[in-house]
Amino acid sequence: MVKYVVRRLLVAVPMLLGAMSIVFFAMRILPGDPCVAMMGDQASTEALADCTRNLGLNRPLAAQYLDYLWRSVQLDFGNSLRQGYPVSEYIARMFPHTLVLVVSSAVVAALIGIPIGIVSALKRRSPLIDYPLRILALLGLSMPVFWLGILLLIVFSLRLDIFPLIGGGDLDGVIHMLASGEAFTSPRDFLAAVGDVLHHLALPALALGLTLAATVSRLSRSAMLEVISQDYIRTARAKGQGERAVIYKHAFRNMMLPLLTIIGLFVAIALTGTVLTETVFTRPGLGKMLVDAIGARDYPLAQGAITVFTMIIIVVNLVVDMLYAVVDPRVTYR
C-alpha cells in the first residue's frame, strides 16, 4: 500500500510540473504587454521599461520559468500586477467562495441526481418513469450552466425578487467570526451572516448543481443497472429479502463504489463550472478571478489561479484513487 501511494505521488509530480509549464508558456506567448495593460497606451517608454524591469519580465525566459516553478512549489505566485498584493493571499481569499460553491452544488447534484438515477434504473424501460427521467437528464446535460444561471436570475432575482442579483455575501466575515470565536459569543450575528451567504449561494449552487445532477443521474443509473444484474442481488432476492432491503442494503452500497471513482472527474467538471457560474452570478471566487486576470493580462494572478485549479484536480484524483483502494478490498495495489 505504502509503495503504491509513493508511486502514485511520484507520478503526480511530473504531471503537475508539466501542467504548470503549459500554463507558464501559454501566459508568456499572450499578445499584449502586462505593463501596457497596467499603465495604458499613453505611458512613456521609460516608464514601461521601468515597469518591465520591476516585474522581472526582462530576464531570460528560462530564468523566469525556473523562478516560477521554484516559487510555485512554495505556493508563492508573486504579486498581482494590478492589485499589488500577493497572489497567494488573493487566492486564499477567493478559495472559500469557490469551495462553498463546489460543495453546495455537489450536494444539490447528489441529492437530485442519485435518486433519479436509481429510480430510473429500477423502473427501466418504463415509459412513464424511466424515459421522462432520461430525457430530463439529457436536457440537463445539454443545458449550458451560464444559460441556466441567467434563466434563474431572470425568474428569481428580477421577476420574483427573492434572491440577490450579484455578489457572494460576506463569507470573509463568517470565516472571521468563526476564527475569532465571535460566532459563539454573538450567535445571532453569526447566523445572520451565514444566512446572507446562503442567500447569495442559493441560485449559483442550484444552477451548477442541476447541470451536474444530469451527469450524476446518468452515472448512477448505469451503476445501478450494473449492480442489479449481479449474482449477489439474485441471491439476496432468493433468500427472501424484501425488495426494499435488496435495494438499500445490497444494491445501493455497491452502486456507490463506481460512483466514488467519478468524484475526480466530477471535481474537474465542477471547477470548470465555477468559472462560468461565478461569471454569470458576478460572484467572487477562483473562476471569476481567473477570467478577470486573463482579461487584465495579470500573468501572476492567472498563473496562480490555473496552477491552483490543476493542483486541486490532481490531488483529488490521487485521493480518490487511494480511497477507492481502501473502500473496495477487491482492488489490489501494484
Binding site: L141, W147, D321
Partner: protein, 300 residues
Amino acid sequence: MAISRRAESFDLGIPVDRREPRRSLGGQLRRWVPIGIGIVMAVCMVVLAAAAPLIAPLSPSAQYSDAVLKGPGAVDRHWLGTDEFGRDILSRIIWGARVSLQVGLASVAWGFLLGVPLGILAGTLGGPVETVIMRGTDMLMAFPTLLLALIIVTALGGTLLNEILAIGVALTPNFARLARSLALTIREQDYIMAARALGNGQVRVMARHVFPNALHALVVVATLYIATAIRTEAGLSFLGLGIPPPTPSWGNILSEGRQYIKCCPWITTFSGLAIMLAVLAFNIVGDALRDLLDPRLRGE
C-alpha cells in the same frame, strides 16, 4: 491489477453473434425514434448554418434604429426581437449556427486526427512509447476541457481558427485515451496475430487492422464530443474569449444580452436555447449510436 479509472479496456465483444434477435414493433421504435429525432435536429442545424444567407430573414449586422431592444413580435419583421443596436436576433442566431457548427465539427476532427494515431500507437506498441504518450495525455487531462481551451485561446487570441485549434487540442487527450484502450483490447485478438504472422509491419497492422476495428467506438464518442465542443465554444464566447463581436456566435449574443436581462430577456433566452438544442441534438445522436453499436447493450 493496478487501479486505473479512465483507461478501462472496452469490451468490443469482437466475436459477437451478428444475428439480431427479432424485435417487436415497439422495440424497433424505441431503437430508431431517438436517433431519428437527434439526426433530424442535427441536420436542421447543418442546413441552417450552411444556408444562413438564404434562410435568415434579415442581415445579422444590419442595425434598425427604429427597433432597438424590441421584444419578439413587437415589430413585424423581427420575430425573436432585436438587440441593443436594433439587430435582428433571429438572423443573428441563424448566422451564429455557422460558428458553433464549424467549431464543433472542425475541432472534433482536429482532436480526432491528433489523438487517435497517438492512442493507437501507444496501445499497439506499448513500452516506452506508450509511457511517454500516456503521461503526456495525463498532463493535459489534468485540465478540464474548458480550462485548457481557455488557456490556449487566451494565448493565441480569439479567432475562429484559434478556437478550433484550442478546443481540438483540449479534446485530443480524450481521443488518445479511448483509442489506446481500444487498441489494447484489439491487439490481443487473433486476427492481429494472424496479420502479424502474415508479415505485415507495425504501421500496416495499426492502419489496416487496429484502426478500422476501433473506428465505430471512436465515431460514437466523436459525436458526443461535438456536443462538448459546441458547449465549450459557447462558454468561451460567453466569457468574451471567443470570436469577437460583431460576428455573431451564440455565446457572444448571450454574453452581450446579459446586460439587458432586466428589460429584454429574449436576447439571452433565445441564444441560450439555440445552444442547448444544438448540444442536445449531438448528445441524442451520440447516445443512440452508442446504444446501437455497443454490443453489451444488444438484445437487451
